[in-house]
């Protein structure tokens, strides 16, 4: 499973890394440091990833199935 954070949609609410400290981190402006990227989610952090995605008020976070998300 992979997680993507849309840099344009992310507004720095900080709810994602508050929910998933082992997976995501904050930068000095309070935005999630991983925005604009797609990251691999280790199996043991899957629940955290789901919570982070569900916590974003802007809907900026998506969970992608590694198998179906074909890389360009």
């Amino acid at each position: 499973m992979r997680l993507s954070i849309d840099a344009d949609r992310c507004m720095g609410h900080g709810r994602c890394y508050s929910m998933a400290e082992g997976l995501l981190s904050d930068d000095e402006e309070g935005f999630v440091a991983e925005r604009g990227r797609v990251i691999e989610v280790p199996a043991e952090l899957l629940a955290d990833a789901r919570e982070a995605a569900a916590a974003c008020p802007e809907g900026a976070i998506a969970l992608l199935d590694s198998a179906s998300a074909a890389d360009a």
């Binding site: 900080g14 709810r15 508050s18 000095e28 309070g30 569900a54 008020p57 802007e58």
Partner: protein, 399 residues
């Protein structure tokens, strides 16, 4: 006959008046359920009410064409400049980048010991008395002291500072223009002195906000003195009234819901989740305004350039389509982190991390010292219109 305006039911509901406690939520809930959108005609510039969660969120995200030229639907011409709120687009983003580092979770964490210290001092001041007006004796003093300390100003200035900020705040909702102007003049004069002192003796811009504002450059240009003063005043207006108000609603709830209070006393680790649910359940800034800058159709409502839109924050947070059983306090509620108490989009509240910290500190420290308390019997609790706050909350406890 049902009145309509461009296809919308017309609302005559007045949201600026004082009421019984929770009276405004009852009005908001009823209107949201009566119709998805309303046109409200209680103001010289009527406004379109956007009320359901998905619509309110979408409204906040339409920042390219719905701007903050009208910050409040209830008073779109407040006449008080605010920064960064009044900016939009790139200008707004650039100034937010100057300010954001002071309000990031990491920066806020640095103020935790100060918040804790001031909170405990103020609690210990009232505790031996066995009663207090929670609003006047605690809830407004705490954020005011922290605000002054964060700006590097003397906490004792709160005594004369507070009445000015209260008067100025009233100006947003139609207070006396002459009194508002006078309060504004005094506050700007106070900040002018403080900023000039920093120009003469700068401190570390990484930790001292005023020093940072002085050295900051946007497109190579320093901020003007006027803009720096406006920013200081904005931070004050944004942070003091809201924190005081949030505390009033939280403590009314806990004083009247034994099980919820017991849950916090017994398990302080639940405090952050409780804060989030309180923010959802009792939003104080119950609406934000926007001005439409382009003719547009919003889900069937034909909006014209110059129209004012009401983004119903409280309406969204209490929308049963998003939050089932919305009047109940539910710890760990699904989706609670998506509540819109602090707005959304690029103008979301700059101080939201600080606010969460301040509220969490109070919940922990107060209940560690005064676990059991009640609203003084016989008191009629009321709330101010426009932007909710409780004028008074008399609490009592055993000593």
């Amino acid at each position: 006959m049902t009145q309509t305006r461009r296809g919308c039911p017309v609302s005559h509901t007045e949201y600026g008046e004082d009421s019984e406690l929770y009276g405004h939520y009852a009005l908001i809930d009823a209107e949201r359920e009566a119709s998805r959108f309303h046109f409200n005609d209680t103001r010289p510039r009527g406004f379109w009410m956007v009320q359901r969660y998905e619509d309110v969120l979408e409204g906040f995200q339409k920042h390219d064409v719905w701007t903050t030229s009208a910050r409040s639907a209830l008073n779109p011409e407040s006449g008080i400049a605010l920064l960064p709120q009044d900016l939009n687009g790139q200008d707004h983003a650039k100034l937010r980048r100057v300010l954001n580092p002071f309000f990031s979770p990491a920066a806020v964490k640095r103020t935790e010991s100060l918040a804790h210290e001031r909170c405990v001092e103020l609690i210990e001041e009232v505790r031996p008395k066995g009663r207090c007006d929670f609003v006047a004796e605690f809830a407004i003093r705490y954020p005011t002291d922290l605000f002054l300390a964060l700006l590097g100003l003397p906490v004792s200035d709160g005594d004369f500072f507070l009445p000015w900020s209260e008067t100025l705040f009233q100006g947003f909702f139609g207070g006396d223009p002459a009194e508002t102007a006078e309060a504004k003049r005094k506050i700007l004069e106070y900040f002018d002195t403080a900023v000039n002192e920093r120009r003469a003796a700068p401190r570390d811009p990484k930790t001292d906000m005023v020093s940072r504002l002085i050295e900051a450059r946007i497109d190579g240009e320093p901020l003007t003195q006027d803009d720096i003063l406006t920013i200081c005043m904005t931070l004050m207006l944004a942070g003091l009234d809201t924190t005081r108000s949030a505390l009033g609603y939280m403590f009314t709830h806990l004083a009247t819901h034994e099980d919820d209070r017991r849950g916090i006393i017994d398990r302080p680790e639940r405090v952050p989740a409780a804060v989030e649910e309180f923010l959802r359940l009792y939003p104080l800034v119950f609406q934000a305004g926007r001005e439409v800058h382009e003719d547009t159709d919003f889900h069937g409502v034909p909006l014209a350039k110059g129209d004012v839109v009401w983004l119903g924050i409280a309406s969204a947070n209490r929308d049963p389509r998003k939050y089932p059983d919305p009047d109940r306090f539910v710890l760990g509620r699904e989706g609670v982190n998506q509540n819109l108490a602090f707005g959304a989009g690029p103008h979301r509240c700059l101080g939201m991390h600080l606010a969460r910290l301040e509220l969490a500190v109070v919940l922990r420290e107060w209940h560690a010292r005064i676990p059991d308390y009640r609203v003084e019997p016989g008191v009629r609790l009321t709330e101010r219109g426009g932007q909710l706050t409780m004028p008074t909350l008399p609490l009592e406890w055993e000593v």
